[in-house]
């Protein structure tokens, strides 16, 4: 069991986490907008998260916390 927790307020929709995720379970939300006007990233399938923290390592805004 693992999950990446994304702080949507800090996310700038840069997609570096999306590219980095080896399980391809991150994507920018098509519906949500944060207060800065970005589409924040979100987990598309939490059950597949392996807690590798690749997303958090590549996030330039320290917006991701990973639990395992």
């Amino acid at each position: 069991m693992a999950k990446a927790i994304i702080n949507e307020a800090l996310c700038k929709g840069c997609e570096m986490c999306v590219i980095a995720c080896p399980k391809h379970i991150l994507a920018l939300s098509s519906t949500k907008l944060n207060s800065k006007g970005y589409h924040p990233a979100e987990l598309t399938d939490e059950s597949k998260c392996i807690g590798c923290a690749s997303c958090a390592i590549m996030c330039p805004d320290v917006a991701i916390t990973v639990e395992r």
Binding site: C14, V62, I64, V66
Partner: protein, 250 residues
């Protein structure tokens, strides 16, 4: 479940002001993680540059001094000579370190000043809107080289690590990048060594981090990572250019 990754303590709870996808964010986090792991926040003093990282005195939790453009190594020298027991680092961009600050950079290395320099090289001037940097590549389009950098007019880029590796006082000169997890991990190790060198009083340590500038390159963050790989790494090869420990072992 346990937390396996979170914001380092040496970063304050202040959102970064960098552009989306700007690798300054990753590098700042790595510096803070290293400060946490070495347990040195209480005795660290950082020197902020002029450039996109100018306000990093708001991001780092240690004491900070904001320096005039290019002068960070001289300011750091003043702090370190006044308080040798403090850990002093600078964080500088390519204009700060290799244009206006070239003399301060070179002479701090020549003196073997026992400080740590984190150099974010993104081959462009970000804060002022995308002008040519001393590290901009031949043919690169910038605001002040709108037809592409012509070496006949604007000269050739400066390879900082190679240049500083010739200085006896330089204990470490390593070029890294942060375009993927593997390289981020290498970069972090280099930054840690650069701080460790200072703790062990080995002399001047610099880590040059090839970085992206999506906004002024006119590319998306993803495209920028690709541009960095295809264009910057060939001109600025990654690797260790000077390591005083390796030489001693010889």
């Amino acid at each position: 479940m346990a937390t396996v990754f979170q914001k380092p303590k040496a970063l304050l709870d202040v959102p970064f002001s960098f552009c989306p996808g700007c690798t300054h964010g990753i590098i700042h986090r790595l510096v803070a993680e290293v400060i946490d792991e070495l347990g040195i926040e209480g005795k660290t003093v950082g020197v902020a540059p002029v450039g996109c990282a100018v306000m990093n005195y708001n991001f780092f939790g240690c004491d900070m001094v904001q320096a005039p453009h290019g002068r960070a190594p001289a300011v750091a020298t003043g702090i370190k000579r006044a308080r040798p027991e403090n850990i002093v680092f600078t964080y500088q961009g390519d204009g700060d370190l290799a244009a206006i600050g070239t003399a301060e950079t070179v002479h701090a290395a020549a003196r073997g000043e026992n400080i740590t320099i984190i150099f974010a090289n993104n081959a462009i001037y970000g804060m002022t809107g995308g002008q040519m940097a001393p590290t901009s590549l031949p043919g690169q389009i910038t605001q002040t080289t709108p037809y592409g950098r012509d070496p006949k007019v604007a000269g050739y880029p400066i390879r900082v690590c190679e240049m500083l590796s010739t200085m006896t006082g330089c204990a470490l000169a390593q070029r890294v990048t942060v375009d993927c997890v593997k390289n981020v991990n290498i970069a972090k190790k280099a930054i840690k060594k650069a701080f460790q060198n200072q703790i062990e009083k080995k002399g001047f340590s610099i880590v040059e981090v090839l970085s992206t500038c999506p906004t002024n390159w006119g590319l998306s963050p993803a495209e920028s990572l690709e541009w960095l790989r295809s264009n910057m790494i060939p001109y600025y090869p990654l690797g260790v250019y000077k390591d005083i420990d390796a030489e001693v072992k010889k």
